[in-house]
């Protein structure tokens, strides 16, 4: 039997509940650790650090928000697909355990 479609409010509530469980069980930290390690190993972290720093030298006027606005889109798109896939799989694995 196909599941009934959830309203946006229900999805928000579900996401909040899952986030809470992830945080309280420490699973959030474990997954974040794996993500950070993979990103660093792939050179992504150093690349972003370098690009942000060099951009910050020339951006005018310099502010965190100005820099974030410029650097966030390329940061997100340059995440290697394999890493994105692996971490999503970890999150999905946890969610599957939590939901009947």
């Amino acid at each position: 039997m196909p599941p009934a479609a959830a309203t946006p409010a229900e999805l928000d509530a579900l996401q909040a509940q899952l986030t809470q469980r992830l945080l309280e069980s420490g699973e959030w930290d474990r997954i974040k650790f794996v993500l950070a390690a993979k990103l660093n190993d792939s050179g992504w972290t150093d690349d972003m650090r370098n690009r942000s720093k060099e951009r910050a030298r020339t951006i005018e006027p310099l502010s965190f928000n100005a820099l974030l606005e410029e650097m966030l889109p390329p940061a997100q798109t340059s995440i290697p697909l394999a890493i994105r896939r692996d971490v999503i799989a970890l999150i999905r694995g946890y969610i599957d355990q939590q939901i009947e």
Binding site: Q20, L23, N40, D41, K53, F64, N65
Partner: protein, 541 residues
């Protein structure tokens, strides 16, 4: 400072003094809370306990990355703007990102920096970490870090000291194919532990009792030159001469191997250090570079495991696997380390088991790092030697290395835990906080060209800025160019130093003994000359 204005609001707050300032006290509490929470999150998975987490005071969602107001109990989301709204509405100025300790000023509308806040952040984090770690061997807690507070004597000395401007980034003149020496010297100059030791006057070349060829004195003179007010390039002539005399294999005007010079100089510094010993030495070289490697050999037949521990000053990494080995992906420092610490089969002729008594057994060996040194030096074995010292060729393969290195997966303790729990790469296998295993890159030695007519250059970092050193030419560089360079050696320094329970260093004990003995000899001389005088007087009576 180049016309960059700091945030006047945080400056005013800092001016009130740490303890008087509520927001700064709250800042430290919040940072300490996060360090405790992170540690708890590591271990809670195995139990049914829950980590207590904050929720956004505005929208009630759980906060993976809380921003807390430093003036009240508000905590909120950054991305949806709730914490900014709170600051505006309640006219509170500062909020802090708990994860990184960054402070946002609502007046300046930006994240701000203040050196004192940075100090408070690190002090709060390190204090928490000290509580969370015990020494594996003695099960004693770490020595608490204490900031340096000048004594009355120090204050007077500082007041009477003249401050001089110094560039601190000085090139080194090439004295004739000596770039191999210059790059290693620059890596010493930018090594925080060596720098602090020699600038701290721990080996004063004018008071040293060694008459000639003291490499420690040469280091002292080198640091004095670099930190002088002379900005032009410096020629390390006496260093070179001393090197020729102490390490004759490096003498002569031809190009030498930088790694050989590195190891040779470390040995010379060690042997000219006061109080250095052959076992468990804590001279500046061993305190800085010495770690321990463990080699575990397992008999495939009976499972008997024998372990040997050897000291190490650096790690030399093969760039190529054994023939027939499948290399995964690109060549990186991490893959080299994985290769270094993987289990390998020993030939049946190489091993005979002490337990099951059979010789010619199948056995496997595994290397791991038992003790991590404060400074980790890596050499990529680029020069293939054939039999005698002659080099056949250079391996030019590029190796990618990171600015931040987590050494935990290569330590004996974590590797054994990981084997037991069958959890690869899991942080719950790390005893103690993760920063204990984290290293930051601070220098890279590059070699370009062929073996016999190549050139050495290096990159080195001071705080956050990287520089390229090509003998006498020093230029600003980006992290990107450092990480793309053809690395031969890489130097990493531990993020936080961990101090074991205090024991008086051997060189201090030795000096105290010497002083005590000299006093004793003086006393005896005095007594015997008094006695002579008395005898002479009695003789005249």
């Amino acid at each position: 400072m180049n016309g960059i204005q700091g945030c006047p609001h945080i400056a005013a707050l800092v001016g009130l003094g740490d303890l008087a300032s509520g927001p700064l006290r709250k800042f430290q509490e919040v940072v300490a809370w996060e360090a405790r929470r992170a540690q708890q999150a590591k271990t809670v998975g195995a139990t049914r306990k829950k980590v207590s987490i904050p929720f956004c005071s505005t929208c009630k969602v759980p906060l993976p990355r809380p921003f807390v107001c430093l003036h009240c109990s508000y905590a909120g989301c950054w991305r949806s703007g709730h914490v900014s709204e709170h600051l505006q509405e309640s006219q509170h100025i500062f909020c802090a990102d708990v994860t990184t300790g960054s402070i946002f000023c609502s007046e300046c509308k930006d994240f701000i920096y203040h050196a004192r806040v940075d100090e408070l952040y690190r002090a709060a984090v390190v204090t928490e970490e000290e509580k969370q770690t015990r020494f594996q061997v003695a099960k004693k807690p770490r020595e608490r870090f204490q900031s340096w507070v000048p004594t009355a004597h120090d204050v007077v000395a500082l007041e009477n000291a003249a401050t001089i401007p110094c560039q601190r980034r000085r090139g080194l003149l090439n004295l004739g194919q000596t770039c191999f020496m210059n790059v290693v010297l620059q890596c010493f100059i930018h090594n925080p532990l060596l720098r602090n030791y020699f600038l701290g006057d721990k080996h004063n070349n004018r008071q040293c009792k060694i008459e000639e060829d003291c490499t420690c004195c040469e280091m002292d003179k080198l640091f004095a030159e670099i930190f002088s007010d002379e900005p032009t390039a410096f020629g390390p002539v006496t260093f070179l001469v001393t090197t020729w005399r102490k390490s004759t294999e490096l003498a002569g005007y031809q190009q030498q191997d930088a790694h050989e010079f590195f190891i040779s100089t470390l040995n010379n510094i060690h042997s000219s250090s006061r109080g250095s010993t052959n076992i468990s030495c804590n001279c500046i070289v061993h305190s800085t570079f010495a770690g321990q490697l463990q080699s575990d050999v397992v008999c495939e037949r009976c499972g008997n495991e024998t372990s040997t521990v050897d000291p190490m000053l650096d790690i030399s990494l093969e760039l190529r696997g054994k023939p027939g080995e499948v290399l995964a992906g690109e060549n990186t420092l991490t893959t080299c380390l994985k290769r270094y610490t993987q289990r390998e089969k020993l030939g049946s002729k190489q091993y005979s088991c002490s337990k099951c008594g059979k010789s010619g057994q199948e056995a496997s060996k595994r290397m791991s790092i038992r003790k991590l040194p404060p400074v980790l030096s890596f050499q990529f074995k680029r020069f293939e030697h054939k039999g005698d010292k002659s080099v056949s060729r250079k391996i030019d393969t590029r190796v990618r290395f990171p600015a931040i290195l987590d050494m935990a997966p290569f330590t004996t303790h974590v590797m054994k835990n990981a084997e037991k729990e069958n959890s690869n790469g899991s942080m719950s296998a790390y005893p103690g906080p993760i920063t204990m295993y984290e290293y930051d890159l601070f220098a890279v030695i590059n070699h370009e060209g062929q073996i016999n007519n190549g050139h050495y250059t290096n990159y080195a970092r001071y705080e956050d800025e990287w520089y390229r050193f090509d003998d006498d030419k020093v230029t600003a560089a980006s992290l990107g160019s450092v990480l793309a360079s053809p690395a031969y050696m890489c130097f990493y320094v531990k993020r936080h130093l961990d101090y074991k329970p205090y024991t008086t260093p051997s060189y201090v004990l030795k000096r105290e003994n010497e002083v005590a003995r000299e006093k004793e000899i003086e006393r005896e001389k005095e007594l015997s000359s008094i006695k002579e005088l008395e005898d002479a007087l009695l003789a005249t009576v």
